[in-house]
């Protein structure tokens, strides 16, 4: 008790010291912090003193001119006293520590909490609050504390922590994405339906970016199956006049069902199983039969219909059936957001099957000029891929001068995107056609290569 009094005075004595140094009365301090004068008096002078929230401490720090985190190392005693834990004070404290990077305070608090396994739920709550407020990176260590210390691998907080870790890391880079999939996927079926539907969708998408087609297929199958089970359960409930129990997913149920077909179809296409791909593309082309469609869901049905149409064109282009090209071009004209991926497909197909695309390039010349302005990471990579295919096309038809100019643009873009695979490919292409290069093109090439070699 005496130690606790000493420690409490330490936190409060620091506040008192600063009050004296600044010459603030309680009234003035109340005005500066926005803390009710009665509350302030109870906090500083009460017997026993009223507990200080971390929000109070932050306001006091600001009033004294200190940065966030002032006296945080002393705060645990407000919430971790003599075998008692105050969750309403501890949880916001840990959340704030994570937000401002006070790892020292987190480590000190966590080592005390983990003396008792029941306290893992506190760390889980902190992790969830951080995750849901968009602070995914900050939430990761707390999910890791839960996973490392929770003995029951079927417990809700363990399984959700595994899922959140996967979502927190998702989209970092291919190596981290792959590790995240391997770590999380054994637990995916232990999730409740609402989490599981989103989990399967994200697993399939990540495997798509990793080009792991068999895995995309597997998760797409599970996604369709689970979505249909949920759908049929809900229809049965409605038929029997029972209340709705639709899981609370991030997207309408139709998205999981439709994407289950879409992802299956694209996986099959990328594995060269074109007839099967066509069958699954038809599966999401018209989902208007789906009941439970509100306005948002109906908009998703329409998007899926358009993607089915676009992907049927893509499938035809992949197999050299270029008679669909005019319809595909009309589609792209009507849906400008699809022009970039569409042109990558068309250029690849032109290079593979040897058909002319001058009229296509002319038709979309304004769109192509705008590709340079795209800032999104995916669009930049697609632009790079388009430029590369364009370069290959130009060299095939013998337009060396334009081909070399575009190679130089491709080099600049691949360097900026840190895509060294494409940078090397462009070096190779330029080198191969060096004898056609003008002095100016050679000089530009030399400059680009010199700049890159300085960065190695």
């Amino acid at each position: 008790m005496r130690l606790q009094e000493t420690l409490k005075r330490s936190l409060r004595s620091e506040i008192e010291k600063n009050l004296k140094e600044n010459g603030y009365t309680l009234s003035k301090f109340s005005e500066l912090t926005g803390i009710n004068p009665g509350s302030l008096s109870e906090i500083l002078n009460g017997n026993p003193p009223r507990a200080l929230t971390i929000c109070h401490l932050d306001k006091m720090a600001e009033a004294f001119g200190y940065p966030p985190g002032w006296l945080y190392e002393l705060y645990p005693e407000e919430c971790l006293g003599e075998g008692k834990i105050s969750r309403p004070r501890l949880i916001p404290y840990l959340v704030r520590c994570a937000e401002i990077g006070r790892q020292d305070c987190i480590d000190a608090a966590v080592s005390r909490l983990l003396d008792n396994p029941k306290n893992i739920s506190i760390l889980f709550t902190v992790a969830e609050q951080l995750f849901e407020s968009g602070k995914r990176r900050e939430s990761v260590p707390f999910y890791e504390f839960v996973i490392d210390n929770e003995k029951d691998s079927y417990s809700n907080q363990f399984v959700i922590s595994q899922y959140r870790l996967f979502r927190a890391v998702e989209g970092t880079n291919s190596e981290e994405d792959f590790k995240a999939v391997i770590r999380f996927e054994p637990y995916r079926k232990r999730l409740a339906e609402d989490y599981q539907l989103d989990a399967l969708l994200h697993l399939a998408n990540v495997c798509y970016t990793l080009r792991r087609w068999k895995d995309v297929e597997k998760y797409a199958d599970e996604l369709r199956e689970l979505a249909m089970i949920v759908y049929e359960d809900e229809l049965r409930r409605r038929k029997n006049n029972r209340p709705s129990e639709l899981p609370k997913t991030e997207r309408p149920l139709i998205v999981y069902y439709g994407q289950g077909f879409l992802l299956k179809a694209v996986a099959l296409k990328n594995m060269g199983r074109y007839e099967e791909s066509k069958h699954y593309t038809n599966g999401y082309a018209d989902l208007s039969w789906f009941e439970l469609l509100d306005e948002e869901a109906e908009a998703e049905v329409e998007k899926l219909r358009l993607w089915a149409l676009a992907n049927s064109y893509t499938l035809s282009m992949s197999t050299g059936s270029i008679e669909v090209l005019p319809d595909y071009l009309d589609f792209l004209s009507e849906h400008p957001s699809e022009v970039l991926p569409g042109l990558v497909t068309i250029m690849k197909s032109a290079n593979e099957f040897g058909f002319p695309v001058e009229s296509v390039l002319e038709r979309f010349s304004e769109d192509i000029k705008r590709f340079e302005e795209y800032q999104d990471a995916v669009d930049k990579i697609l632009h790079l891929h388009f430029l590369y295919q364009l370069v290959v096309y130009l060299f095939k038809k013998g337009d060396y001068s334009t081909g070399l100019d575009e190679t130089l643009r491709c080099l600049v873009l691949s360097d900026a995107s840190k895509d060294f695979d494409y940078f090397k490919r462009c070096i190779g292409l330029f080198w191969t056609h060096l004898q056609h290069a003008s002095d100016k093109q050679k000089k530009t090439f030399q400059t680009l290569v010199d700049e890159r070699s300085r960065k190695v």
Partner: protein, 42 residues
């Protein structure tokens, strides 16, 4: 010409980092988010 060839050779070694401690050679992978198929990830 020699400096040109040297530069190209240096650049062709791009993306290869050498761990100075163990001497291990690692290949850095570029980010892969390639979508030619419509509707994926949307």
């Amino acid at each position: 010409m020699k400096s040109f060839i040297l530069s190209v050779c240096l650049v062709l070694g791009l993306g290869i980092g050498i761990n100075g401690v163990s001497g291990e050679v690692t290949i850095k992978k570029p980010p892969t988010v390639i979508q030619y198929d419509h509707g994926v990830g949307k």
